[in-house]
Symmetry: C2
Subunit: 411 residues, 2 copies
């Protein structure tokens, strides 16, 4: 383990999840014995592997065995060659990595799978998380599936319906009269105080290891052709760092020759990582005002890893408005048939912005990481797509309406 702030190296730190010198600012980074792993895990062996979940890459994950892992199938999500979408944005190739196909509909399940496996290995019985939507839902569900108890701290922006979906899994839920950062803080303090397993992705360095499997899958699904850029929504900054790490590990293992440019997308009002990347300073906390719930992080904790991923990969960052996000959500639906959460539609919005401003050439190939699905977000759909027309239950009325629209549209 290496501290991303001071660079100090440690062995396996069972009790502490961050650098003892730097405190919670000193997020750790896990390193493996890649020579050893390269002997047991090869692309040829992977091609024969029957396991389709993220445990397919077990030697590259911080989990001892595959016996005591969460019983839901996490990972193995589709990669789509989105030709109609590519045509619309004017690129040669656009891939969509559809993380909505995880058990609770987001990439968070990959992180939670590791959390649950580690919690079981280290004999924890309670897991805690401070979260907005996806991470809380994932923690509640996967903990329940594994027979762990979960104590969740949710910020007050969460709707009654969202909270009720958590409650279905039987955790303890605290709605915190405050923002996301307050929820995370209470969760960290509780983990310390009561010895609960800390499932906070931007702090616990084990969790992003689950998310790096997106890179391994991408590489198998593109048959080793690294996309020129990988576009990732950035909130805490963990996912973009994790996917970059996955590609770096694959290069170290000799599985890939080319590395992708990492492109991070943030919402205009929650752009602390963007600013840190652009100006080279530590990030300044912001007050997010975006409908993209999953991007609404004012004071990201994992910004160092995220900025490093963008810099080291010679990538870039971009911010997008809610209006651009809603347009992208609609475009993804119409052109690819995928319903995405606003925060993930931001990837397409960001790509479009970079293409239009000629910061990216259209001849590149891009993989968009659809980090979360849209089924839980009918409100955003309503803003993006509007209402439908109403007709009486009478075919002649349907006919009249259709003739009117036929006069306007091509079909």
């Amino acid at each position: 383990m290496v501290c991303v702030r001071c660079g100090r190296t440690f062995g396996h730190l069972k009790s502490a999840l961050w650098c003892p010198d730097c405190g919670t600012e000193g997020i750790l980074d896990l390193q493996y014995d890649y020579d050893l792993i390269g002997k047991v895990l090869t692309p040829a062996r992977l091609a024969q592997a029957a396991v389709r979940t993220l445990w397919r890459y077990l030697p590259l994950l911080p989990v001892r065995g595959s016996k005591r892992v969460a019983p839901l199938d996490v990972g193995g999500t589709p990669l789509y060659d989105a030709r109609a979408l590519a045509q619309t944005v004017g690129m040669d190739q656009v891939w969509l990595k559809d993380e909505s196909r995880n058990p609770t509909g987001s990439i968070e399940d990959r992180a939670t799978a590791i959390a649950v496996a580690r919690a079981l290995e280290d004999n924890y019985s309670i897991l805690t998380c401070g979260a907005t939507g996806n991470a809380a839902l994932s923690s509640a569900a996967l903990a329940a599936a594994a027979g762990l108890h979960a104590t969740l701290f949710v910020s007050r922006e969460a709707s009654d319906g969202d909270v009720a979906q958590l409650m279905l899994f039987g955790p303890d839920v605290f709605i915190v009269e405050g923002g996301y950062e307050d929820a995370v803080r209470l969760s960290l303090r509780s983990a310390e105080e009561y010895g609960w397993y800390n499932r906070n992705k931007a702090i616990n360095p084990y969790l992003v290891e689950g998310e790096k499997t997106v890179a391994f899958e991408l590489n198998e699904q593109t048959h080793g052709a690294t996309p020129d850029c990988i576009v990732v929504p950035v909130a805490e900054g963990s996912a973009i760092a994790a996917i970059w790490k996955g590609y770096c590990e694959m290069r170290q293992l000799g599985w890939v020759r080319d590395l992708p440019k990492m492109i991070g997308v943030q919402a205009e009002s929650a752009a602390a990582v963007y600013t840190a990347w652009k100006e080279g300073n530590d990030p300044v906390a912001t007050q997010p005002q975006t409908l993209a719930e999953s991007l609404a992080v004012g004071a990201p904790r994992d910004w160092r890893k995220a900025v490093a991923a963008v810099r080291d990969s010679r990538g870039m960052m971009v911010t997008v408005s809610d209006r651009e996000i809603l347009q992208a959500m609609h475009l993804l639906g119409e052109r690819s048939g995928i319903i995405v959460e606003p925060g993930s539609a931001a990837t397409l919005a960001g790509l479009n912005a970079l293409l239009r401003s000629r910061q990216l050439p259209r001849t590149l190939s891009a993989a968009l990481v659809i980090a979360g699905g849209g089924l839980r977000h009918p409100g955003a759909a309503l803003e993006a797509a509007g209402k439908a027309r109403t007709v009486p239950p009478d075919f002649e009325q349907v006919r009249t309406t259709l003739q009117r629209s036929l006069a306007r549209t091509p079909f």
Copy 2:
């Protein structure tokens, strides 16, 4: 093709989707050349097959090639051995077939995949469907993914948010001032009048062929051990008939020796198929009053196939109340970590009812078909699980609250 009403046999009927003698009451049933199929498709070959979607079973599907199929990955959903749940209901083995892992979160995607493939093969450019939630969402998404236009008729019970999710995919949507049956009727009429592809599962006999692949997957996932019973939510009646058909075909092919008992579950207020099964009469239309949207079909069209599946398999049917459904929804969350729609929670509620009334012995194994996921149903979650407590952003308050609940609960 065989008419399920008069028994007349037909060749491939390109233009008509029902029996020319019986009209829309004469739903057809597709038959294949099983001797021929048995030569190309064997369990041993399947075990080697790389395709994980429902096209894995292409020779048993009414589609010519796999080239022109919808580009989203449909099928290949997980089967979970739900041990904690089995323990709770007191059975030896309970499997969950999790259809929520399809692209739009339900088994409807299997039917739509066939619809889209057939529409493309027969050069249709518009597809139509009359539907409540899942079928409409599936039709909108998979049509968009395949570059087809969809015209959808939705009953007025659909919420603005649900309709907006459809609109994201760019179809024509008509909200019909009437119920589900009115929506289906307008869709059928439009299909006839304008020559659109008819994606109405209870009429178009091709569509259930997609759903029978649930049986094929189940059999591979249980390594050929047929569950004693398969519990299926019954609305139109198509899914239970389809899964039964899948098992019958596997027996004909020599892939299985044992057939399962098919257990159909309906909501108390939408129990037309149940009544037809119980009393041996034609079903009488009802006015559904259930929160289980996907079960709210008053006048099911595919009841003949459904009743035959239950009878021929020596299965049974059962009805459940909304209260039982909500309890089951909560139990599935707590015990298996899966968030299900109310209509699919009905399977567990029905199983429980049959176990308690000793109509089913606890020594049997059961597979519950979780036909649809719960992410789109926060309202039902709220009714099932209630609200969470609120705390100020202060750890001492959390501590006090936890100490109070510690006094009451075991952890």
